[in-house]
Amino acid sequence: MKFPTKSLEEWIEFLDSQGALIRNDREVELRNEVSSIAKKTNQTQGPAVLHNYIHGYPGWRVFHDGLSSRERIAWAFGRPKENFLPNIIAHLQKSKPIKPTVLRTGPCKEVKITGDDIDLTYMPIPFTGELEGPPFITAGISNIKDPDTGWQNTGIRRFQLKGKRKINNLILPFQHEAMIFGKYIQKKQPAPLAIVLGADPIYYLASQIPAPAQVDEMDMWGAVVGEPLEVVRCETSEILVPARAEIILEGEMDPVAREFEGSFPEFSGYYSVFRYAPVVHIKTITMRKRAIYYYMYNGAPVSEGLTIGSMMNEMELYRQLKEAVPEVVDVALLSNWGGMTVVSIGKAAKKKSPGLGKRIAFAIKTLKASPFVKHIVIVDDDIDVRDPYQVLWSFCTRFQAAKDITVIPGSPGNFLDPSEFWLGLGPGFTSYTIFECTEKLPPYDIGYRRGLARPAADVWERIMGEWTVNGFRKEGAK
């Protein structure tokens, strides 16, 4: 395993070496074609794709789905896929954030474009939804500096193209970026912003680690890797960006101007409502000569953005929930930012602690990491919480709606959930539903006493230890 990969190009080479990349030499259209390929790639957990020819955009290449599977995210972190959550949490708990090293220059400054020469219509920005117009930059990492403390916040945002030198940046009130931008509004000053398009995978993942306020996500890159991230200073501000990034859009966010933003293919699968969003005027672009444009498919699950967000959110939810209820074995956000959250518990612990499922369900709603949990499914620990087939099997064989369902209306939910009538600005409300899909305790366990029908455990373990994707046994196994 190559760890860390320090640029998008290195990451693409690594994926290729693992058989996890398709280099597409057939010309593709930005409208509907790239997004169709990305949608199917996500649905099938297929390889990442590098499109070498984009119709009407000579020389450009478009890359997507570098992080659209758990396995690839584990690779990016340099960790095994098995027991990933406890493993990466333990690693981060013993690691310290490391400040980046500032270089004088880097590959991201091979080309500099300023003033009237800036024209974003040269850039191959794919349309995700048919009715999206103009399209959105979906894999842009926004960087903003706190004007008082120098704290640099980093996070993946969506940016709608609105002009040759103008984009909209939808900021939501609960985001750290909003907290910082609020200070610029109070000072009546434009907020310098740097948007990184295409970088190493750890930079993308670190940007999604729910770091507390005043902690730079770039320092978390150092915590993951054990060495500092190499960065360069922007041309027009003090913002730091990865030296090996593909493209940097430097701009200023107007403290007053707002524009009509949308419609965007939300993770719910539906188009967003129109909202007013801040306006970013692009002042400078720096980039590699042969820059690769990074695109993330959005919309109904499965999508790359959702996979990254869910997995990073899952990490924090697991850590917090395990602290509150140690009997928790595993946690998975199966869909839509926790819309369907599955938690497993040990059978022995359940016997010792009747009502454990409810305890978990109530505890989870008090955690900072779980505002969007809508349906919580409690399963036994013989269920792989990430396997929808196993979860559905448990739902069919260990759940009776008359006894095992609890609905709590008016609970905190996700304001982007289209099944809620109210699409307001606050946290949103939902019917929080608890599905207890576990084997029942005595005396109600008659149906389970005969036991599960399956091969002998020792033989199963041995066979699984030798299992490969393409054959029954690993090479060299006897």
């Binding site: 409208r31 020469d117 800036i118 219509t121 117009g133 193209l161 009130p173 007013y276 000569k289």
Partner: protein, 87 residues
Amino acid sequence: MKDIELMKGPKSEPQKLMERILANREWLDQNIKELIAQYKVGEWIAISGQKVVAQGESAEEVKKALGGVLGEALIICVPDKDIPLPF
């Protein structure tokens, strides 16, 4: 591979199309209040050449009126006048 300047040079048809989409979007942004007053909430309209060129009860109906090709046209569902201002 020959060095190509990615961000300059003569524009291709898709790049020119993007410019026209942006012009239509700018017109939409500038005229949204008038459009909300003129059309029903939930009605679908198409904007092309910086004017409304089709309207209907669904996106499919409006797309059909455009001959099945979007081109530079924007198809939008007319929003309520209370457009959220999250920030």
